[in-house]
Subunit: 452 residues, 2 copies
């Protein structure tokens, strides 16, 4: 392949590709970076530059790019069975995966319903929760409302977008979305509580979320009987600017909802698989939802796969003679893809054999110690972390300060992609402390150079 | 792995997997079939039985299971780059794929927006069409309605389900769906037009769709200015019982819609990539839509991937300074997955080097000659075909006759999965005429034994 430079490929790219979550005009003066290969935390472009993937490629990568064990698992699976439909049929990778996922979760979560991306998992959980009430009570009018948190993000398909709250993604589409009820999320890391708050462990004081619980109570007293489900991202609202909020609020809010017969959906698409510090965030919240949505890290960042895990109780509400019309007839063509399941099993093997959650605890502490050095900069506010998520806001009036940092970081070998004014670090778990030190040091230089 | 029988695995499966599009109680007396491996058109279970995949695993497989060329492409890609985020970044497989897809399509279709499954592609097309009118006209009230055909199927997420019309999948969820306008699809193969109609080429007479065009006209005269887009599956509504309908209707209906400023969405998720007899059904319809949705066959049945291909004109309506708020900010974590794109490129290589569309023409004729032998059975009605899709209805009052046929076929080595009373054959393109003869012969025996 002669003459393949960043420049040539970037031009070909712009001729035919409309990139996700992008104003394409931004690329008139800032080229797309074509990546040739990747290994571990490093990405390599066609001009020979390398970048540390500081955001795990949109929070999906866990154990590095081109991981030998995951590669081997996919290659082996390719020689046996790449894909078959999952209706009426099954295969060993998905049977193993389902058994292993259920074994990692509290007992009631025992049935796995698969799909291909996070948004579709959310759609499934929404439809299942509505359908559950329908099958059980056939009430008229039916429970048909969903309750979600302010500042939530659950994906981009119309159902998922409807329960989200980020205006940037949602506002334009209001006329074609479902209406949804919203309860304010406690906002603790807003700078007003002092610089000493750094992690969810410090947020248990009821004063941090009293007001929001009252708001929830008043919504429930008015609409409690009309709501199918309460959906939330436990511990951290990632797309919502890496917003960490109190787990005690989560527990109490869920208990309140349950007292009205409302089902609980945990969206752990971003925080699952160790990202929050425990294998699943629900462990820290000490509550078992009725639906757990997983995706992203499930295949270690290799292939699209998602799953909604629910209880036998929910499953039973759909289990009836065919003629009853109670079946959940949702499907996607590639549901339960064997290659993606093989990758997911390899990921669970790594968790099991390398004691990742335990190791990440030490790594998280060490990285946070480095991260805290940034606090000495005046423009760094609300510095915080949760497991393998590290964040702060920059206190700057530059309208697109995040974009400026993205570009400056790229020039220095980092793939850092801020969310507005929120800078975050969410690396693959295999990052070394030396690499993390390089990231933080480089980020510090950028902040000093651009916002001194 | 000792003791892995169908029986053991099926029990493990039922303990933890909730299968798509399935009343799970059906599996109390009919076990799930665990597939161990597959090769070409054959699936092999853990008890040593084999099955011909007569439905291409939900219409996704084109060139057989464990295809050497596609396997090699994925393995090579695994050694370079498995996945990176597509915002701000790109990679060679997706640049190649986008260029090649656009080269296969009429000129105006020139920009590719990717996602992971068919439903998500539909959601993107719906959101883009709404957003296009919004960006261009900012009319109040906005165009916010969608127009679709009766008997349509576009997927299961809430937006996609809203524009579908199959009560089986949709009815329960009515209270949480968007309202959608529906125009009747011409129903030609309903048995009343005589047994001589067999293929879309025979459906051009205006009498076959006059009434439906009038219905469309009256909808448009009432709602024309409120509709963003008209969505349809060109040539064949697959999930809608393999319903073949006149291409002349499609052309005229689209032209009528366009005269009201309504955008056209072609859902070729099922019929694309040669299934309809041409590479894309739009070639036969002689109309270029504003949005073309593709998935399923795009990776040859290997991995979830979907794409919405649109025109530079649509793209330009979103191309503006960031501050204008005109960008299309939709995304999915795994958008543009490099492994899936590598598979897709291998699929396009096979099309190009093996002259598949031309070869399929002969194969389609030969298979249809066999298929027609079934017409001598009394219970076979509306026998028809379009490209590599062959179908008929069974004229039986048995409520779940299709399920009976599925079970009987499985016992005889065929994976055939009827849609209600519609029996169809949609094999991988690599099926031999001998294998097809075995399928048709076996099906004939089953029909004779069960419905004599
Ligand atoms: C015409 C059509 N559109 C959309 C879809 C939905 O695609 P997916 O199942 O990948 O979500 C299908 C799936 O069968 C289809 O046949
Ligand atoms: C919490 C959460 N939910 C849902 C999604 C949507 O998943 P996907 O992008 O795979 O559709 C995301 C993606 O970023 C997410 O972070």
């Amino acid at each position: 392949m002669p003459n393949l430079s960043n420049h040539t490929l970037s031009a070909l790219d712009l001729a035919h590709i409309w990139h996700p979550c992008t104003q394409m005009k931004d690329h008139e003066d800032f080229p797309i970076v074509p990546i040739k290969s990747a290994k571990g935390v490093y990405l390599y472009d066609f001009d020979g530059s390398s970048y540390i993937d500081c955001i795990s490629s949109w929070w999906v990568n866990l154990f590095g790019h081109c991981n030998a064990a995951i590669n081997a698992a996919i290659t082996n699976q390719l020689n046996e069975l790449e894909h078959i439909l999952l209706a009426g049929f099954s295969h060993k990778p998905i049977i193993d995966l389902s058994q292993r996922l259920c074994a990692l979760l509290p007992r009631p979560l025992n049935k796995c319903f698969y799909a291909d991306n996070g948004s579709s998992a959310i759609e499934i959980a929404l439809k299942m929760s509505f359908h559950y009430h329908h099958n059980l009570h056939r009430k008229s009018p039916p429970r048909s409302k969903f309750l979600a948190l302010s500042n939530a993000y659950h994906g981009e398909t119309i159902g998922a977008l409807s329960v989200g709250d980020l205006g940037l993604y949602k506002h334009t589409y209001a006329p074609i979305l479902l209406s949804c009820l919203s309860v304010p999320v406690p906002n603790v890391f807003d700078g007003t509580k002092g610089a000493s708050l750094h992690a969810p462990a410090e947020l248990e004081d009821e004063s941090y979320y009293e007001r929001e619980l009252h708001a929830l109570e008043s919504i429930l007293s008015r609409y409690g009987e009309e709501i199918c489900a309460f959906i939330l991202e436990p511990l951290v609202q990632c797309a919502g600017n890496m917003h960490i909020y109190p787990k005690a609020f989560i527990k109490k809010a869920c208990e309140l909802c349950r007292s009205y017969g409302i089902l609980i959906i945990f969206d752990e698409i971003a925080v699952g698989f160790g990202r929050s510090g425990s294998m699943f965030a629900l462990e820290q919240c000490r509550i078992t939802p009725d639906f757990l949505c997983l995706s992203k890290g499930i295949t270690g960042g290799y292939l699209p796969l998602s799953v909604v895990i629910t209880s036998d109780e929910i499953y039973q509400a759909f289990y009836a003679p065919y003629e009853s019309g109670k079946a959940f007839l949702h499907s996607h063509s590639y549901t339960g893809n064997a290659l993606a399941c093989a990758a997911a099993n390899a990921v669970l093997d790594i968790f099991a054999t390398q004691n990742i959650i335990e190791q990440n605890r030490a790594l998280s502490r060490a990285i946070f110690a480095l991260w805290q050095e940034l606090e000495e900069l005046n423009i760094v506010k609300n510095l915080r972390h949760c497991g393998m998520i590290f964040a702060f806001e920059i206190d700057s009036s530059t309208p697109r300060a995040g974009v400026e940092i993205f570009r400056a970081a790229l020039a220095k070998g980092l793939l850092l992609r801020p969310l507005g004014h929120t800078i975050y670090f969410m690396p693959p778990y295999i990052i070394t402390i030396e690499e993390a030190r390089f990231v933080v040091q480089t980020l510090k230089e950028i902040l000093q150079a651009h916002f001194a």
